[in-house]
Symmetry: C2
Subunit: 436 residues, 2 copies
């Protein structure tokens, strides 16, 4: 690089948004990434660092001197730092904690002691606290004085001398109030809050339900210890949706992005459910073996096995998806079991009839007799209703057993329906065709 | 009700959050709902109304006099009103529009003319605009004067006399600035924005990427016409995730909640893909018919059909889910095709080997000879790799054809893999067992 190019590169970077710079850096080779990162002014560098992914962060940290590392770690916001520490090996975390000032280290440690996926883990203690005795102008003075180090100034929190949460104050109301009004006059005295133990998904739901941009987090003694802000919950909502998609396809949640994850990791995350399913599927071979006398008499019955179990699996997946998603967004609760099941039975009957018409026309025109056509028709109706029933019921059962309903879906439901569907099909065939 | 009970009921309602009141109302019978709603003070009533679902809103509106309707509609925030009008029949909308003051009607009409799912459709025009010539104290005075009617006061927008967007001002910076500083000194002069045509999902992604609580919306002439706020994007993110879940299970997006949707609606939304799949599945019966001479010689081959196609379908769904979700959260782009495919081929081989061991042990212990065991083992490896390949490739193909990749999943992929898997299985069997 010439000195001039160097300068114009610096200028170019300074006009870009930190999120965009992070994107550019992510695409570069490691050496180039370190070089470009060092060109950034310190305050922007930290913001860019917060936007980078785990692997890139670790690599960048490795390329810095201890003093540089200390500066970056110390300037990061608390929740981003906790997320970073979460991703790094314990040994590295310990080394990094040593770089923090004693006060910062105390905060980081406090955050790290809450259990994974709890509100305590992702909250930031960088909120503005006000006293009950303050007036609007005193409160505004305190906000002005402390704003620079805080996560948000749009909501501040009134606490008692014992640090118990007494109310929330919106900057909006503070600005519109006359200077001498006590804060207790315009604070929200019954604010919605979560506790440090609250699951992060629960916390996100609460914030979404009440349209909150900030929610206070209190400990078991009702003391205010942190806040969650809106960028936290967006991340949570996206993360939880991804986990649900993965679970519904029988994949254990993958922490890294698809392209970053190693092939062995991906394979391992997928293998568990595939093994469960194939072991369960072995039953299907026993069932077919048991009914082989039927198959040997009328080999045409085998022609419809894929169609039949495929259709059952598809309807089961549909029903499960509707119920699981209903649980997630809160539109369905445990008590709705009978409403849901009866809906699925009726809908299964209607779907079954429509699909049976098509399948039995094919069986009929094949010229193997009415018996096979009748068997196929009856079995399609049965298997579709079965798929609906199993697909709707299993998520409720999971909920009852406090298992994530999303686990009860896709591969697992398909497998269960396959096996029950085969039993149904051959039982119907045996009776209709009067065999064995 | 006694007069006293009446009063304490009113008091109870006044301590509750609007979102909670809406929840209580939703559970009541219509008559009771109307009764309770009328007890609410006007300002709270409007907030509660905005939290209610479509069906309840319509019903409540029906129970009011014209003057009452006019008051509610006029007080609703613009984006909520647009959402309400979207849900109602055109005739009702026209009637309701008549209730608005001329100014409000102009706004509502403006919002309604943007296409569905665009930023224009959900934006609110209730933002605070500032002039380039203003100082911090003048800006603050303007915010104080107009705050009551605006959606947010945390971000205001500097516009030129032609109403072109010049920059955004954060209340934070405004409060911390000395009174005489011109707004142009501390405004963000290159703010991130979207246009009225931007798809709402795109707009949500942009806000999420840059951690924005508010984003300006400009028209084709770069004039500032509205803003999106964070509660809008949370709704969009949830809505889009639900749509993706439904599409991935072969369900056309359902607009209502599961319990509100009629059985016929649900059945219709599910039938299309089931029909597509069953018609495609008919091919499987033709394939099996063609290979019936193989089946007749070795009926044991039929025992493994469900296991084989089930496994192929499961791996296909897993691969498709990883790729589709990768597209949605932006971790995978079109150019990654070859990286993804090669990853899936290697991973498919590893998964296939593990699963083939289990399946072939079962085939071997069945005592039908090594030939069947070998056929099953080779076919499991083949079908798992096939499932991975099809599951990873089809979403890319959809993306290329500008179809939502989520459509290429669950039922459809399972069906395609079923058919290709059967062909593979019987071709392998024919060669290994030297038949036909």
């Amino acid at each position: 690089f010439e000195r001039k190019q160097f300068k114009s590169l610096k200028e170019l970077l300074s006009t870009m948004e930190p999120a965009d710079i992070a994107e550019v850096l992510a695409e570069k080779a490691p050496a180039e990434r370190v070089f470009l990162f060092r060109l950034l002014p310190k305050d922007i560098a930290i913001e860019v660092f917060e936007f980078l992914e785990g692997a890139e962060r670790e690599e960048l940290l490795g390329s810095f001197t201890d003093t540089e590392v200390a500066a970056i770690i110390e300037e990061m916001s608390d929740d981003d730092r906790t997320a970073l520490f979460d991703e790094l090996p314990a040994k590295t975390v310990k080394k990094l904690l040593a770089h923090l000032s004693p006060e910062e280290r105390k905060l980081a440690n406090a955050l790290l002691n809450y259990q994974a996926d709890s509100a305590g883990r992702i909250m930031t203690p960088e909120f503005i606290d006000l006293k009950e005795t303050m007036t609007a102008s005193q409160a505004l003075a305190r906000i002005r004085a402390t704003a620079a180090k805080k996560e948000t100034i749009y909501t501040s929190f009134v606490v008692s001398p014992e640090r118990k949460l007494k109310g929330t104050v919106h900057l909006e109301d503070l600005i519109l109030a006359s200077p001498d009004t006590p804060v207790t006059d315009f604070m929200d005295g019954l604010p919605v809050f979560v506790t440090t133990d609250t699951d992060q998904e629960e916390a996100a739901k609460t914030m979404s339900k009440y349209d909150l941009q900030t929610i206070p987090v209190v400990d078991r003694e009702s003391r205010l210890v942190g806040i969650l802000t809106f960028d936290d919950i967006l991340d949570i909502v996206q993360e939880e949706a991804t986990e649900d998609f993965e679970r519904m396809a029988g994949i254990s949640p993958v922490d890294e992005s698809y392209l970053d994850a190693g092939i062995m990791t991906l394979t391992r995350k997928r293998l568990t459910w595939l093994l469960v399913c194939i072991v369960t599927q072995l039953f299907s071979s026993f069932i077919l073996e048991r009914y082989s006398f039927v198959l040997e008499s009328v080999v045409a019955l085998a022609f419809f096995i894929p169609l039949l179990i495929g259709t059952g699996g598809n309807t089961g997946t549909q029903a499960a998806t509707l119920v699981i998603r209903g649980f997630t967004v809160g539109e369905i609760v445990r008590e709705d079991l009978f409403r849901v099941i009866s809906k699925e039975i009726v809908s299964g009957f209607l779907l079954g009839i429509s699909l049976a018409v098509l399948a039995s026309i094919r069986a009929w025109t094949m010229g193997t007799g009415y018996g096979v056509a009748l068997t196929v028709a009856a079995s399609v109706v049965g298997v579709v209703m079965l798929g609906n029933l199993v697909g709707a019921f299993l998520p409720f059962a999971a909920k009852k057993l406090n298992i994530d309903p999303a686990v009860m879906s896709g591969p697992f439901i398909t497998t269960v329906v396959d096996i029950l569907g085969l039993l149904l099909y051959f039982e119907v065939a045996r009776r209709v065709l009067v065999l064995g």
